[in-house]
């Protein structure tokens, strides 16, 4: 399989057996997405052969793959935004052609939704009105109602909260026990730990090794993936005194009843995490700080100076100095059809003190993030997900922001890129940038953040730091159940 001048997959032999969960690991660009697309009929191999049940098959369209029972839940969502949940499920139901669609399989989809905590998703709701996690839940239901023989889960749970992920896993294990083969792609080690039976590691378009789970430990697997030693994923935390200079200070932030009375302080050298289940107000809070919400209340002070922010254009000016990395980089972070160079210039445009066309603005952050690209004039859509995120970061870092707001910046990104982003965030914090990091990955909230605020129903239900910053405490606070050791505040 070739992509341009580079081979996306090179002489790969790969097998997946019925009744097992087979995890596929690798950095972005390692070839795992290409492999999945081959199996799902989106791409065709330039050399080589696919076999299902020992017979050679030609998968020249997703429909052909479906007919062989190969079902893929793509990382890029395959739901049609303007149709309702019911209509989307009907479209994907087995045997759906151009004729009359029967609702027979809807019951199964509803059953699946109920089991993965999605019972409140109304069948008549438009998909575009659903939140990202709800869409993923519908995707999962849509995939399972097709009664697959092989189910590919490509970052299928990336936006889901830990408790829902656990329910999805329960469902996947049940399907496995019924004899279904499952290919599982995730960048979260604890998910692979929890679910996989066998693991295959890919690197640079080749399969490095396949082994039973437990044969290698965490560190050895990472080394296999990157081909070199990475001592630590996360940079060391440097303790910050309570007298350190306050960079960002938010008081009584409220919006539309969905976010209530949020107070937040970020000191020099600190990275502050925002956790919680999805849609508890933490995402809206970040948007509000960046001037994306109408009629938000509260005061924001940066570097001691009180500011009033009503639009992103205002927020990015030098005297305010805010930058916001949105959750959905493909629609809100980048203009996919424009070149890398043009995308980089987008944030600096409209800043009278900066020359957006000056490549020197971006050079240092691109170098530090080690952006891999085939030329800055190629469209940004030609980059892998991790490299796209680097472009989003670099375009904002060119403004030298005083406060950086990040909404789940490492979702669906490979380990090596994550490490680069972590190192960069820590360095920025040390240089005096206030960093607020919203994350759905609690390892980030624990390992990278100095303090983590957990949101529940629009309020901060717990603020954790030091030894209290444990997975148990974060999950307990996110679910608003009494934690074992400490009292929640708020």
């Amino acid at each position: 399989m070739h992509f341009g001048a580079t081979r996306a997959l090179d002489g790969v032999d790969f097998q997946c057996n019925a009744g097992e969960v087979h995890a596929v690991l690798g950095e972005n660009g390692a070839g795992k997405s290409t492999l999945m697309k081959l199996i799902a009929g989106v791409l065709q191999p330039t050399h080589g052969q696919l076999r299902v049940d020992g017979r050679d098959v030609l998968l020249n369209s997703p429909r052909a793959a479906l007919n062989h029972g190969l079902v893929c839940m793509f990382q890029e969502l395959s739901l049609v935004p303007d149709l309702t949940v019911r209509e989307n499920l009907l479209l994907g139901s087995p045997g759906a052609g151009i004729g009359w669609l029967s609702g027979d399989s809807l019951a199964r989809a509803q059953d699946v939704l109920a089991r993965i905590d999605g019972a409140q998703i109304r069948m008549g709701a438009r998909v575009s009105d659903l939140t990202l996690p709800q869409r993923q839940q519908v995707e999962i239901a849509k995939a399972i109602m097709k009664r697959p023989r092989l189910l590919i889960l490509d970052e299928a749970t990336s936006a889901l909260s830990a408790s829902v992920v656990e329910r999805v896993f329960g469902l996947v294990r049940e399907e496995r026990d019924n004899g279904i083969a499952i290919l599982f792609i995730s960048h979260r080690f604890h998910e692979i730990e929890a679910l996989a039976d066998r693991v295959s590691v890919f690197r640079n378009g080749r399969r490095v090794e396949t082994f039973m789970k437990g044969a290698y430990d965490y560190k050895e697997i990472i080394n296999m993936m990157v081909g070199q030693k990475i001592e630590e994923l996360f940079p060391a935390k440097i303790p910050v005194g309570s007298d350190a200079e306050v960079v960002l200070d938010v008081r009584n932030f409220s919006w539309d009843g969905r976010v209530r009375d949020i107070d937040l302080t970020v000191r020099r050298g600190q990275i502050v995490g925002l956790g919680g289940l999805d849609g508890q107000g933490q995402g809206a809070f970040l948007m509000g700080l960046f001037g994306l919400l109408r009629k938000a209340e509260g005061t924001t002070a940066i570097g001691g100076a009180s500011t009033d922010i009503n639009s992103p254009k205002q927020a990015k000016q030098q005297e305010v100095g805010l930058a916001y990395i949105p959750e959905d980089r493909k629609t809100e972070g980048l203009i996919l059809d424009q070149s890398i160079r043009e995308n980089l210039a987008l944030a600096a445009l409209g800043r009278p003190d900066l020359d957006a066309g000056d490549g020197a603005l971006y050079a240092s952050s691109l170098e530090q993030l080690a952006l891999r690209h085939g030329g800055l004039d190629l469209p940004v859509s030609s980059l892998s997900g991790g490299n796209q995120q680097k472009v989003v970061l670099a375009k904002w870092l060119a403004l030298k922001p005083r406060c950086l707001l990040l909404a789940d910046p490492t979702r669906g990104i490979d380990v090596k890129t994550k490490t680069q982003i972590y190192a960069m965030l820590r360095q920025l914090a040390d240089q005096g940038t206030a960093i607020v990091l919203l994350s759905t990955d609690y390892e980030e909230l624990i390992q990278l953040c100095d303090e983590t605020h957990v949101f529940f129903d629009g309020e901060i239900i717990a603020s954790l730091n030091g030894d209290d910053l444990t997975p148990e405490n974060i999950i307990a606070a996110a679910l608003n159940v009494a934690p074992e050791s400490r009292a929640a505040h708020g």
Binding site: V80, P81, L91, G92, A96, G99, W255, M287, L292, S311
Partner: protein, 320 residues
């Protein structure tokens, strides 16, 4: 029900506007709500309604069909040759007229799908071709259509205008069941997100081909009905109907970006547009000023349809 109202908001607005306009029209008309007035009104509305249906099928798959009027002109001219004589001849003539329309649409679709050329360019070109053919058939307006049949289709059934009965048949007999088929949903899927449609295992080429063929078929139906109303063939009707069909679908809540709207909305939009024109006729506004007022009303109606953007508390929702 609340869900239905919410997700079909645009059609509901269009329906309310139509009822209000019709009430005003019938109230101001010197002869009131008589069968005669209703029949003439319904005939005019249905011609544009069918053209709007044709435009709808192109727009819903994120395309546009600039040949709707041309297909009408061509089928109208064909009809002026075929719709007279024996009963069997007329029957097969009607089928032939609709098939000509469908073939025009299929040609558009083939060029768009296999030539990978934007619909706006393709249909601009084929529109000239279709009008050219129509002019060859009827250099000057003329021909004849069987009067008995024309009366049957354009008068009334038990006091109800036949045109309204036809509209009802299209909605209840064709559209509502069609909406539940794989093809029906596929049209929306393709217009809303081609990538998602492809990944869901939908044959996107076939769907697009089908959409443009349906557009041609409804263009043919519009040409056929126009022939019954006017009983002559005229190659010069293309331009007005193409632009009005686009205005009608927009007015009926069909988004030009594709994937949103319904045939009911397209019909309602066409009926609104024609009702406005009829209102103008009786309002005493000088006829030369009528396009100005029609345009203002059209702009205002579209602005009202988009007003709910003002309610969005999250500024990003304005763009979606």
């Amino acid at each position: 029900m609340a869900d239905y109202m919410k997700s079909n908001r645009r059609e509901v607005i269009a329906g309310v506007v139509l009822v209000a306009l019709l009430a005003t029209y019938l109230g101001t008309h010197p002869r009131g709500a008589s069968t005669y007035v209703m029949t003439i009104w319904a005939n005019q509305c249905l011609i544009l309604g069918l053209a709007a249906c044709a435009q709808f099928f192109a727009v819903v798959v994120r395309g546009i069909d600039l040949s709707v009027g041309a297909v009408m002109a061509l089928t109208n001219c064909v009809a002026s040759y075929l719709l007279d004589g024996s009963a069997a001849g007329i029957a097969s003539g009607m089928v032939a007229v609709v098939i000509v329309g469908a073939l025009c649409g299929l040609l558009n679709g083939l060029i768009i799908v296999f030539g990978r050329i934007q619909p706006i360019v393709v249909t601009l070109a084929t529109a000239s071709v279709f009008v050219g053919l129509a002019l060859l058939l009827r250099p000057t307006p003329g021909g004849a259509v069987n009067y008995d049949l024309a009366d049957a289709v354009t008068l009334d059934v038990l006091g109800i205008p036949t045109a309204l009965v036809i509209t009802l048949v299209i909605v209840a007999g064709f559209w509502l069941p069609f909406r539940r088929t794989g093809l029906g949903l596929g049209l929306y899927a393709l217009g809303s997100s081609e990538q998602a449609a492809f990944q869901s295992g939908i044959n996107t080429r076939f769907i697009r081909l089908a959409a443009f063929t349906l557009a041609g078929l409804f263009g043919g139906l519009a040409g056929l009905f126009y022939s019954f109303v006017t009983t002559t063939g005229d190659a010069g009707i293309a331009a007005g109907f193409t632009l009005n069909s686009i205005a009608a679908v927009v007015l009926g809540g069909v988004l030009l970006r594709g994937g949103v709207g319904s045939l009911i909305g397209a019909l309602a939009g066409a009926f609104i547009l024609k009702t406005i024109a009829s209102l103008m006729f009786f309002s005493g506004i000088p006829s030369l000023a009528q396009p100005l007022f029609e345009g203002l009303i059209l702009a205002a109606a579209i602005a009202i349809g988009g007003a709910d953007v003002l309610r969005a508390r999250n500024k990003l929702e304005v763009f979606s």
